[in-house]
């Protein structure tokens, strides 16, 4: 498929048009959406109007932006005015937001064309897109397997060449893990780099929006377009969007990169082999490789599965059948709240709400939530010490390649373990990128993870680009 960069250049120079690029995208969606269940809603009418407007402006000699005419898929937990937004939950079925998320406004300002809303685990709670109330998404590379999650629809959209770019959100690995399982670049930006205004909250101190793309330059273009301070998000970093695309070819000469033992321990052999080959490629490009052990990473999973559900139990209290979404009628208001939530939420969401409610309840708060917050401090300190010895860290993104549909749905703990390598970055609010590197079982892609401190996106993209070139994807 044509890159986003080429599409934007062709649209701006009138070699192609936004309308033609959109029709190509819509045809690809029509061809496989029924089989793969990637999009929950395709906004053909709105996208055609946006594309036609861009074409008129280009014809008038206007520069319409760095993403001129590029179709983009949007994870269905981001609000787009007038477009059904469900979080893949029955409790929001049929709801149409009255405003745009900041990322939607920024995409439009950059000349992009939002084409529709992609499937996800319900309220982004899951690692396979199987907890969606509207059925699982299948992996385009092998439809008997999962695409990963929770942003599995967005990953599948790019992997199936329906769009060249997609937005996901990453609370514990929900962009990087599906990127790894679908053979894509997936970016979890530094906390606060991208506005969360209009992103439906799961765990507010961990959630962050980021890009999916097939190559590093496209991912950098998309992140540049959506990043930067937003007064509507009080946790937004104060500075404007960083310069990223201009740095993708900076290389890694002279950089110190640490292979972290805890980010490969327990991974399948083919995954470990890919990480080792990636380390060699970075060394060949002039990086100095060191090896580190960061024992605190082993505690990440436990801390995360207390902190994220605790925040979720609070955030999801708003679905009470009063202001929007589903209402199941009952005689009094409490019974109505209970009937609505019982009918509207799926099993995984209920599990996490109850886990979080328990961790926050009197008598257990100190032992669970309080202890997890202290581990979070230790995690941040551990990263800080690691970055005194290395500029970036490297490890696996996931322990295995894409697994079979249904293979982990009856065992929540087994599913949670697929996030074991991605969670530390979220707890510390830092940045990480998953890069496809080599293949494993059944020829499926393996993701290698590069981690950096807050605001290190330019360095991460430069290192990811070295790996991309080493794999012959120039």
């Amino acid at each position: 498929m044509k890159t986003a960069l080429d599409t934007a250049q062709d649209v701006q120079s009138q070699v192609s048009s936004a309308t033609a690029e959109l029709e190509t995208s819509l045809a690809a969606i029509r061809a496989r959406n029924e089989e793969l269940n990637v999009f929950l809603y395709v906004d053909e009418e709105g996208a055609r109007a946006t594309a036609a407007s861009l074409d008129r402006r280009v014809a008038d000699g206007e520069n319409v932006g760095p993403l001129a005419g590029v179709p983009v898929a949007i994870k269905d937990n981001m609000c787009q005015k007038g477009i059904p937004t469900t979080c893949a939950s029955r409790i929001l079925e049929g709801w149409r937001p009255p405003y745009n998320a900041t990322v939607i406004d920024r995409l439009l300002a950059a000349g992009a064309v939002p084409v529709g809303k992609t499937n996800l685990d319900e309220f982004a709670m899951g690692s396979s897109t199987e907890t969606s109330a509207f059925g699982p998404t299948r992996n385009p590379l092998d439809p008997s397997r999962v695409p990963g999650g929770s942003s599995g629809g967005s990953a599948a959209a790019v992997a199936a060449d329906m769009t060249s770019l997609a937005l996901g959100s990453d609370t514990g690995g929900s962009i990087r893990q599906p990127a790894a399982l679908c053979g894509l670049i997936g970016v979890k930006p530094s906390y606060g780099l991208v506005s969360r205004y209009g992103l439906i909250a799961f765990a507010s101190s961990l959630d962050q929006i980021g890009p999916f793309a097939k190559n590093v330059t496209d991912a950098a273009m998309l992140l540049e377009a959506i990043a930067g301070h937003d007064p509507m998000d009080s946790t937004s970093l104060p500075e404007p969007s960083p310069t990223l695309v201009a740095h993708v070819n900076d290389g890694v000469a002279g950089k110190r990169i640490a292979l972290v033992r805890e980010l490969v321990d327990g991974a399948d052999e083919d995954v470990v082999n890919s990480v080792n080959r990636a380390v060699e490629a970075l060394k060949d490009a002039g990086a100095t490789i060191v090896e580190l052990s960061i024992p605190e990473f082993r505690l990440g999973l436990s801390a995360y599965y207390l902190i994220a559900p605790a925040e979720a139990s609070s955030n999801l209290a708003r679905y009470d059948g009063v202001r929007y979404g589903l209402r199941v009628d009952a005689d009094d208001v409490t019974a109505m709240n209970e009937a609505t939530r019982t009918a509207g939420f799926g099993a995984e969401v209920k599990r996490r709400i109850m886990l979080g409610t328990y961790a926050l309840s009197a008598g257990y708060f100190d032992a669970y939530y309080g202890q997890a917050l202290k581990v979070r401090t230790q995690m941040i300190d551990a990263f800080r010490r690691a970055y005194q010895q290395a500029d970036l860290l490297i490890g696996a993104t996931t322990p295995s390649v894409a697994f079979a549909l249904g293979s982990k749905t009856s065992d929540p703990m087994a599913m949670y373990l697929s996030d074991v390598f991605t969670i530390p970055t979220n707890l510390a609010g830092e940045a990480a990128v998953s890069v496809p590197f080599g293949t494993g079982e059944a020829g499926l892609p393996v993701g290698v993870q590069l981690l950096g401190p807050g605001r290190s996106e330019a360095q991460l993209f430069a290192a990811a680009r070295v790996l991309e070139i080493a794999e012959g994807r120039s």
Partner: protein, 100 residues
């Protein structure tokens, strides 16, 4: 923290969270939540005395904006999303029991 999660704990938490569970769901969730909490018990053995808890990745202080009037969503637009509205307000079933 070592005490196993009991079925009545799960029933209590479900009530707090405004969820009603079937008998079968109570059994399933008691088992599954127990396994997750057992995994989390590796945190209980840690001596974290004196470690300052982190609720948020930045040491954010309150962020405030200038106190000036700005446009917000139209009332009718917001009420149109509600399952029930009446006289410019959200409408809900009765909150209290019948008058004596």
């Amino acid at each position: 923290m070592s005490s196993p999660l009991r079925r009545e704990d799960v029933a209590h938490v479900a009530r707090l969270a405004r969820l009603s569970l079937s008998e079968a769901e109570l059994d399933l969730f008691t088992e599954q939540l127990g396994q997750i909490l057992e995994h989390a018990s590796d945190l209980s053995s840690l001596d974290l005395e004196g470690v300052i808890p982190t609720a948020h990745p930045f040491g954010l202080i309150n962020v405030v904006r200038d106190d000036v009037v700005r446009p917000s969503l139209e009332r009718d637009v917001v009420l149109a999303m509600a399952p029930d509205a009446e006289d410019g307000r959200f409408a809900v079933p009765r909150i209290m029991g019948e008058a004596p």
